[in-house]
Symmetry: C2
Subunit: 432 residues, 2 copies
């Protein structure tokens, strides 16, 4: 971009006060506006240097602090930053918990806050008793212990996992009013490390007639899904590690099938079996569920890829505005088809758009954090974000998506999300 920017140039480049994405990098905007945020100290407050510690100071400046710990936890002052649990009653173990996206930053989701979608609870698997079997249309069926899998070559990738049912309140007639994580938080992003599945399939020797694989989890319901062999042989992995440490129980301990960019249910937790076949199994979770009823009365099946999506996490419903000032609009974008190519932001309900800054690293099938400076003048505004991925796919407006898919599809909702900000700074979810 050859845009000439002066440090204090607050000239909007799109409606509603959107500023150039590089402006914060110049370090000037805040200088012009933010002294109302920091408190200027009076001369007598800085007459002594360093500022003294006096008896009125808090106790941690007077007493030796707490001990070392073998495994740390968040501050007690952050105890409200948790997954919001939905369901889990009838039947027990069936439901979801949501990642609080509105409270997080960067692209890594802490493992303790990775969303959950369980159909039969979290099995307490002893790894020494767990086995992975590869059988069916193979030359030699094989059984792997967890210890044996740790000896195979590994790779790590930063990847999002998103439930096919994430954001499905978007199909409702009226816009749901919730914090962004309780509406869109069935998506999280981790560094996964494991054995490329191609290595194990090669070892078993896949028959030339094979075209599908039935993957089965080791929970009591033996959850299973059918997956095209071509995808699994391309980039799937048997993950043993998540964010550096061994995968946690609610994310599949001791091993999880990772299928980059595909809907959450294909990433089978507690993986115990891969049956190589020449046709899908047509079981519950690929017929009655995880399919989408279209206006024609037909249903879409095997809609594996998660299309491009984006969300503004700040400002967002439940947060507050601090009056007219310069803000950083922050959000997340991701696509199952590859890298995010760009994210456009509108502050005037979609009449005009400005391109957001994409934070490095921008990785394929991974969260991308975007940021854009915005000078809010205190007037009503409607914020939107629109992701485009490297395949050229553009996140659709809601009316376009509903026209194409109807409102009974339940799964794979990825329309542009709109937040309305009123003159009091209250933020609500709107269809606009």
């Amino acid at each position: 971009m050859s845009v000439k920017l002066s440090k204090d140039d607050l000239t909007p480049i799109a409606g509603g006060g959107l500023l150039h994405r590089r402006l914060f990098l110049k370090g000037g905007v805040v200088l012009a506006t933010a002294q109302a945020i920091a408190r200027p100290l009076r001369a007598e407050e800085t007459a002594t240097a360093p500022p003294p510690v006096d008896p009125a100071d808090p106790p941690w400046l007077h007493e030796t602090g707490g001990p070392f710990t073998g495994y740390g936890t968040p501050s007690k002052y952050e105890k409200y930053v948790v997954r919001n649990i939905g369901g889990n009653r009838t039947p027990a173990g069936e439901g979801v918990s949501w990642t609080p996206l509105q409270d997080l930053e960067g692209i890594v989701t802490p493992s303790g806050l990775h969303f959950e979608r369980h159909h039969d609870g979290v099995p307490a698997i002893d790894p020494t008793l767990h086995r992975l079997v590869i059988h069916g249309l193979v030359r030699q069926p094989l059984e792997y212990t967890v210890e044996s899998l740790l000896r195979y070559p590994m790779r790590s990738r930063f990847l999002f996992i998103e439930c096919g049912g994430n954001s499905n309140a978007g199909w409702h007639q009226e816009p749901i009013q919730r914090p962004v994580g309780d509406f869109h938080g069935l998506v999280s992003c981790s560094e996964w490390t494991g054995v490329p599945l191609s290595v194990l399939l090669d070892e078993a020797g896949v028959d030339s007639k094979a075209s599908w694989v039935i993957a089965e989890g080791g929970d009591a319901g033996l959850l299973n899904v059918s997956l095209p062999l071509s995808k699994l042989a391309d980039d799937a992995m048997i993950a043993l590690y998540q964010n550096g440490e061994r995968v946690r129980p609610e994310n599949g301990y001791p091993i999880r099938l990772i299928v980059p960019g595909w809907e959450g249910i294909t990433n089978v937790k507690w993986l115990r079996r891969l049956q190589v076949t020449d046709q899908p199994a047509m079981t519950r979770n690929e017929t009655a569920k995880y399919t989408e009823l279209l206006p024609s009365g037909k249903a879409r099946m095997f809609t594996f890829v998660m299309h491009a999506k984006s969300l503004i996490t700040s400002p967002s419903p439940g947060q507050k505005m601090y009056g007219p000032n310069v803000y950083e609009i922050r959000g997340l974008a991701w696509s199952g088809r590859g890298k995010i190519a760009k994210v456009d932001i509108s502050a005037d309900g979609g009449h005009s758009w400005a391109e957001a800054d994409l934070q490095d690293p921008v990785l394929s099938q991974c969260f991308t954090r975007f940021r854009l400076p915005w000078k809010w003048d205190g007037q009503p505004a409607i914020l939107k974000s629109r992701a485009t991925d490297e395949s050229g796919y553009v996140q659709p407006e809601r009316d376009v998506l509903v026209k194409e898919r109807g409102r009974e599809g339940y799964f794979h909702y990825n329309a542009i999300v709109s937040w309305a900000i009123d003159e009091d700074g209250e933020i609500t979810h709107v269809y606009a």
Copy 2:
């Protein structure tokens, strides 16, 4: 590289059986050798498909699993993967805890396992009472609440932090025998998100006479260090988030100064004060400590940058070999000067070397994971790894480092590390 590889080519490219770094990517090596790892299933074991769940199977295949949780934790079977605590007795709160690098994979260190180095314990700071003051040679001294800092523009970076005293047992006369994390584990890597310090320094208005900044933490000892203003204005940040969530207490909650690539103590935890000055304070932690006594009797001071370093985490002491077979050599490399350019591996004590595969993404001042296939023939071997960074700096052999620096320097030990493997597969630390 134009090396022609066949899928089953096990011809070494360096002494001791090192194979080409791209060989595992071809998927062939394991096929040739690993059937001794997986268990071939007999025909009668796969006659029924799917394999039946019978009464002898473990309980988690018969009973609904555990409930959803607001904040997850590792499996109870991983309870031995913890930080090993050293010190913490006299005085209380003084010591270290080590990241168990030998148990981890990928490049992210889980926040619960990030190493600790505390001088006065972990203060239990109430974020609503915490303040950051910028004063001294500035136009307008300013005071920031934590809430106000959350409103400034942010950036995220994946960065290692390494204690200046990490690996200092390397100066000992005899090679220490410990798991790699208990020797080299005062280094960890996180995604840090915060406010670029340049933004706040601009806001306060730094005087043209200023050249140093004294950074002070909010623990009872008011730990402080003096840092060149030029570095802080270049790429330092006030971190509010670590691996997606708010920084944890032992890593500086609510705010930590992050100084990319510089020794751990400069990354001041619980940051409360930045005093802009025209000279260093010459306090304890930059005179009596965190300096290195040279053979000449002079001491090096202000040795901020952490030089390039690498470690083989697997195989490593405390782990076991499984007899002659193909192994994946795995390890970590990092440099305070930028990106890792390459890592060379030797299996014959440094006589010959082969280049390891560097796993994407390779980021500046961040852990880089390296991997190399190795065909161990069961004979004694000596493994070494040698990092080169993008500045051209090459990690030195131990005898070169000792010749230059003597053995009384205590800090900044970064020599090549050697593991000896004997014919029984036992792994020990050696100087070789």
